[in-house]
């Protein structure tokens, strides 16, 4: 017996147990997201994948599809809330796209464009977070971290290392590194770790290369993220 739900008015098939995100992806429908990565357990923290279900808005990555469910992935009210969430992320960190090596290959930037965000909107917090350049192969710019915990999850669940964790609470929440000095160079982090390649922003970057492909010709400069998908599918080009 086949199961179906309605996605933006379209009858869509799903397999019981699938989340809205999984069912939409299987049907070729893009739902914007940042903390979601199918290699790891759903997280639900960034709130970018909001979809309307009845009078509520839920995160598509953590909500299971039910038979006959009506999901709104396209209305202006849904898109406006996603945009507001992205504007909050931009206000929280230091996201200066023109000066960032990841510009054009950045999911945060690409998803912001997708939701129609063209200006930062909220007053920026300008956090003072020092860069960690202690590792021979990688650099961490904490100012660009959006607390999606993908590196935390990749290091713990895939690499078996627990290099990263989130500390503090509220707006003072921040990424920390497990080493005696708190520096990446002092930890067991390695360039071959999955954790080195899952960051959706420019917070974790490889050293010794930069601007190999000019801004304007990069992945999301050429095609929107809704067409080409996450960095995960384009690692050769990006790393």
């Amino acid at each position: 017996m086949s199961h179906s739900f309605t996605l933006d008015g379209q009858e869509t098939a799903f397999v019981p147990g699938q989340t809205i995100m999984e069912a939409a992806q299987a049907a070729g429908v893009y739902i914007p997201h940042l903390c979601h990565n199918p290699d790891y357990a759903p997280h639900g923290s960034c709130r970018v994948c909001l979809v309307g279900v009845g009078r509520r808005q839920v995160s598509a990555c953590t909500t299971r599809v039910m038979e006959g469910m009506e999901v709104d992935n396209a209305s202006e009210s849904v898109q406006a809330n996603r945009r507001a969430v992205l504007q909050m992320l931009f206000a929280e960190g230091n996201h200066i796209c023109p000066a960032c090596e990841r510009s054009g290959n950045c999911q945060l930037q690409a998803v912001a464009y997708y939701t129609g965000m063209l200006a930062p909107h909220y007053p920026p917090f300008f956090p003072r977070r020092p860069v960690d350049a202690s590792h021979p192969d990688f650099i961490i710019d904490f100012g660009r971290c959006i607390l999606c915990e993908l590196c935390v999850r990749a290091s713990r669940d895939h690499d078996g290392k627990r290099v990263f964790a989130i500390s503090g609470r509220g707006l003072a929440s921040h990424l920390v590194i497990d080493s005696p000095s708190g520096l990446l160079g002092d930890s067991c982090f390695a360039a071959a770790d999955r954790a080195a390649h899952v960051c959706p922003t420019g917070a974790i970057l490889p050293k010794h290369k930069g601007f190999e492909r000019p801004i304007g010709e990069r992945l999301y400069d050429r095609e929107p993220i809704s067409k080409v998908g996450d960095l995960r599918a384009h690692e050769d080009e990006v790393d």
């Binding site: 909001l50 507001a84 503090g168 609470r169 707006l171 929440s173």
Partner: protein, 612 residues
Amino acid sequence: MGGPSVSEVQGFVTESLGLRGRAPEHLLQHLIAVQQRFGWVPPAAVEALSAALDVTRTQVRAAIAFYAFLHDRPRGDFDILFSDNITDRMLGNQRLLGLLAEQLGMGTDATRADGRVTLGLTSCTGMCDQGPALLVNGRAVTALTPQRIDRIADLVGQGVPLERWPGEYFRVEDNLRRRGLLLSNPVTDGAGLRKLVDLGVEPALADLERSGLRGRGGAGFTTALKWKFCREAPDGDRYVVCNADEGEPGTFKDRVLLTGYADLVIEGMTICAAVVGARRGFIYLRGEYAYLLPHLESVLARRRAEGLLGESILGKIGFDFEIAVHLGAGAYICGEETALIESLEGRRGVTRKRAPYPVIAGYKDRPTVVNNVETFLAAARVVQWGGYWFRGEGTDQSAGSKILSVSGDCARPGIYEYPFGTPVHRVLTDCGAERTQALQISGASGTTLTPADFDRIIAFEDLSTAGSFMIFDHSRDMFDMVQNFAAFFAHESCGFCTPCRVGGSLLHNLVEKVAAGQASEHDLGELRQIGGVMRLASYCGLGNTAPNHILNTLDKFPDIYQRRLRSAEYTPSFDLDGALAEARALAGRDDAAAHIADLSPEDQSETEEAAV
């Protein structure tokens, strides 16, 4: 000022490991013990705990940074935190803090250079009916007056240890003003439990169903259903958790229940254990109530001795149930049941994804019933006296009674128990509230009511409440409440999801902008917009309800905002003159020409005309 030696710290940690256990979930309890012993958590303790418990040192540090009562650097020998709920402010806590700081020759948020004393503020400590209150090294001091502050300054100045402070400072009154269905009789001799053992679990569950009892923490989920779900979950360990993390500003009924009715609460937990088949339970007690720990431990010990707890309860083979008390360490979010479970497991109190709900996957991913203190108390009586007895009071959808914590502007603050369906004005009359301007019901996350609402009733179908009932008379500026709550929610957001983490601070900053007289009509629109996003998009109830007080007061008390606005349609969020401060410092200038004048809109238009 020499800190403890490494060997001293290591010795204490070793002792604590023997006492509390060596599993990762014991981390938080060890950290609290270390904090209490040394006044902070020294690096040697971080290393020792990380090595012994199989958690990374980063996880240990992250937990310390999360909980407000844990510190990674030394605090003063006397660590004094003034409770800073709006009700404490209405009773003058800020003035008293200023007074104490002055007498001690220090700032209001600082540690004195000699390391003798630290002063600061903390979220509501649950003493709203006998405030202003403070915590000194975790112990509650109530009913503060200028005289008491003078005396405390002397005691601190002379370094008198807490054990030799006057006992009356630490006295906490019950202030039980109105006893109803549950409070009229504190006595239990285990009758409910006996009935359960004699008749079996099915009749008890049937009585619970008949009673219509719903959770008293605010959400109102049917208790019998929750217990049934847990009971029917696949085989294996189950847990019963009593949520005594009463953090909602203005709530203090659980403190009174755990003081005078602990036996009944524990009996309710034990009955629940029999129904769902649990062998272990926890009371998660908020850190502010740590002074209740010895009392609770003694009640647990007595019940063990009486055969009402432990192995083969009331002689029934296989009916084994043990309860441990776990302390919180200053985190409002841990009142949310999934965050509470994370905290019980020793981690930062960050909410979990739901579903699965705790009844399916809770503590250690096993089926877990989490209920409020008042719910367990009611359940014990329901099983003892029957579902109809309970059903006889209240409304169709809200059976039984509700225990309220009444504070603020009234003659008789304290605990009041009413049948559900009681109108708000009845409570106001009984507690001696006069010239009431507003009522904040169900705490900072609740609803702001005006006199037009006072005919509404306390019930799940109308005014659903966890019991906080804060009264404001006409002398109050309701904006003080908004400022207090906005700061509270920015401080208490766990930081997991974007809307609550960032939105809460954006709201706080905007409220401060209004307070400073710098805001415009545009900013009020922003408050509504951000509040709307938080309501819809946040991950858990904390974020969903955090903007309520702002959205409510924008509608019901627009004047408190309007009269603070600058007349302009839009004022920038940045301070142009302030931005030049660094340049002035570098140039060594501070004359008038080095400043940009603060132009009022009228001046601005004149300048523009002049320029034309």
